[in-house]
């Protein structure tokens, strides 16, 4: 079906602001294919059902809206953790600021500097394509075509130090597109950390293949620049008996759309996707998750919590699709918001689609205010009202933070949240 004129114009306007990167040669076919898909299908539009709660305008317009750079005080998040640090400034790799990419048990290369023949050829754009059914994700296809760089990470053993991507935002008009491919080989273990606002506008795709009996932990903190906009996609395909856990903390950001598309292909695998978001004012945060169960006896969990105030908006669209083959599936999904005032709103669309008969799936979504009884109890013990509210806010988010296995990482995120809460008061 041909695009409507207005949609055709929108996609061509966006494409005209981009250059198709020259390399690497092994990715050329995937890039061309993705470009054709974008041309044919267009970009997200306001009337699209999948974008009902989130206006895509700022993510698809040709140039990014400038975003003021926040000068963060205090030490960098995760700085207390022994990690392999890789720095991107406004989406551009910074070799000076980055650690040596060589590390035990893992091979790390840059998309822009990889050789002619590459293992990533079988994954780059491939998991993204799989994730386009049954719902299309045009901004991910756009990313596959135009990503200027990214990392190709292949873990072959138990990788001791987490690989930490640090995304610095320094220019008010930056528009960054990065595409990462992660392969965790059979029995291998890898933790990937991502922090920072990255750019005025950031589009990132991470394709992850987790092989049998492998473990992959992914923790992100999206940075506190209030005016930044981001669309992220994680496409993961899981083998048998493996573990995949992804957590995202978002504090501020005018526009965030985080999509996670998880395919449980093997048997006995575990996939957890979780997030905590706190926002104030013209903050719009959207978690869109699609989990497909193919293998038998797999467990999936989605735990999302949002704290909203001063007219902030939170969105959750979460789906669990259980195919006929996926007997003994254990699927769980919860999305909750804490509304600190009457102006903020939380929009949730939980969905279950089940074709197997022997499964256990549950989902729930709630929206509520601070518990006044708990508030009074704390105050009656001498805790000031604003501190009591912070304590209860952190308590609300704790259930999502608890999804992170590594205590040190979790504590760092709690510190971030505490900073956010205290900054609100100044």
């Amino acid at each position: 079906m041909a695009l409507r004129k207005i949609d055709h114009e929108a996609v061509e306007a966006r494409l005209s602001a981009l250059d198709l990167p020259q390399g690497p040669s092994w990715a050329a076919a995937a890039r061309r294919d993705a470009l054709e898909r974008v041309r044919a299908g267009g970009l997200p539009q306001r009337r699209d059902e999948y974008w009902r709660f989130t206006r895509p305008d700022s993510l698809i317009q040709p140039e990014p809206t400038p975003a003021q750079v926040l000068r963060e005080e205090g030490s960098e998040i995760f700085s207390g953790i022994d990690r392999l640090r890789i720095v991107f400034r406004d989406g551009v790799f910074d070799p000076e600021a980055s650690d040596d990419l060589a590390a035990e048990g893992v091979a790390i290369e840059r998309v822009a500097q990889s050789g002619d023949i590459h293992w990533a050829r079988d994954l780059y754009g491939k998991l993204e394509v799989r994730g386009q059914e049954p719902v299309s994700r045009p901004l991910a296809a756009l990313n596959t075509a135009f990503a200027t760089d990214g990392l190709l990470i292949r873990a072959t053993g138990k990788v001791r130090r987490p690989v930490a991507l640090v995304y610095l935002h320094e220019q008010e008009q930056s528009d960054a597109i990065l595409h990462h491919v992660v392969k965790v080989e059979e029995g291998a273990e890898l933790t990937l950390l991502e922090t920072g606002p990255a750019a005025a506008r950031f589009n990132t795709v991470t394709e992850v293949e987790v092989a049998d009996r492998a473990t992959f932990h992914h923790v992100r903190a999206q940075g506190r620049d209030h005016e930044r906009r981001a669309v992220t996609h994680v496409f993961a395909r899981l083998g048998g008996e493996c573990v995949f856990k992804c957590f995202t903390l978002t504090a501020n950001g005018m526009m965030t759309r985080n999509e996670a598309v998880i395919e449980l292909a093997g048997d006995d695998a575990v996939a957890h996707v979780a997030g905590a978001a706190v926002g104030d004012g013209d903050f719009h945060h959207d978690d869109t998750v699609f989990v497909t169960h193919e293998g038998r006896n797999c467990e999936s969990r989605q735990v999302f919590k949002k704290v909203l105030r001063n007219g902030a908006t939170g969105v959750f669209q979460g789906k669990i699709l259980v195919r006929q083959s996926a007997q003994k599936t254990d699927g769980y999904q919860i999305s909750q918001s804490l509304l600190l005032d009457g102006d903020s709103q939380f929009l949730a669309k939980p969905e279950l689609e089940i074709y197997a008969d022997d499964v256990q799936c549950s989902h729930g979504s709630t929206s509520g205010a601070i518990d006044e009884d708990a508030m009074f109890y704390l105050r009656s013990r001498g805790v000031e009202q604003s501190d009591a509210q912070d304590l209860l806010t952190l308590a609300f988010l704790a259930e999502a933070i608890d999804e992170i296995d590594d205590r040190m990482i979790a504590e760092d995120l709690v510190t971030q949240l505490e900073r956010w809460l205290s900054r609100r008061r100044r």
Binding site: Y377, L378, R379, S380, R381, G382, D387, L391, L392, A395
Partner: protein, 251 residues
């Protein structure tokens, strides 16, 4: 210590009068008991003293050592030394008992211009207090009151009181739902805190707690008023004859 004068209270949301002129004076170092049938307004009095929302004070005054209490926020009352042991302690999922108590203690100390207690000092303090109340240290790590039995919740209230060391303690039916052993523990906890500078207002429906915590003065409350005041023998009278006789006598 505590001075309640002609206190009239109605519900904020509806036109229901609950306290209809309560007068009460508690001297420093004394234990007063308030007894009365269900619905007579005992918990309302306790909540109004501690500053809970939802009530409107239409008349009267409350002073703590001469300072107007009704003007203060709940946390200011706490810092001034007022403490309420809740009839129904609140569960707070996600907030650890230790964090809760240390935050409370340091908030009060800060409000009074005192130095904060370090994590180490606090740990020592709470371990010692928990031990005398036979509170399992594991319980301290759990979220506030979540999954606690009725008795554990009440003991936790007394633990908070022991740590915060208030000068005016209001105990609302701390005995309800406790078996004899648990009640004894709670009473011991209270008695250990008795001091010339500290007063207690012990609200109870039954006399049995007063066997363990000897009151100096006993008040009977009915329909929003103190209708009779006497010595410990008044509690025994309630125990033996119920409220009916007393209420008939004052009617």
């Amino acid at each position: 210590m505590l001075d309640i004068k002609n206190l009239h209270v109605k519900l904020e949301e509806e036109d229901k009068r609950i306290l209809k002129g309560v007068d009460l004076h508690v001297d420093a170092g004394k234990v007063h008991a308030i007894m009365g049938p269900n619905g007579s307004g005992k918990s309302t009095l306790a909540y109004v003293l501690s500053g809970r929302d939802g009530y409107e004070i239409t008349e009267g005054a409350v002073a703590l050592d001469g300072e107007d209490v009704l003007d203060m926020e709940p946390e200011e009352r706490a810092a001034a030394g007022l403490f309420l042991a809740f009839q129904y302690p609140i569960e707070i999922p996600g907030v650890g008992n230790m964090t809760f108590l240390r935050t409370a203690l340091n908030a009060q100390r800060k409000a009074r211009g005192e130095a904060e207690v370090s994590a180490g000092e606090f740990l020592k303090l709470i371990r010692e207090k928990a031990k005398t109340l036979q509170i399992d240290p594991e319980m301290l790590k759990r979220p506030v009151n979540v999954g606690f039995s009725g008795g554990e919740k009440k003991r936790n209230e007394i633990l908070q009181m022991a740590v915060l060391e208030p000068r005016m303690c209001v105990l609302d039916e701390t005995d309800s739902g406790l078996d004899v052993d648990a009640m004894k523990l709670v009473a011991d906890g209270v008695n250990a805190l008795r001091d010339a500078g500290r007063s207690f207002l012990v609200i109870t429906h039954y006399q049995r707690l007063l066997n363990h915590i000897q009151p100096d003065v006993v008040h009977i409350m009915a329909d929003g008023r103190i209708v009779k005041t006497g010595g410990p023998e008044l509690a025994l009278e309630v125990e033996n004859n119920g409220y009916a006789d007393i209420l008939a006598e004052v009617a």
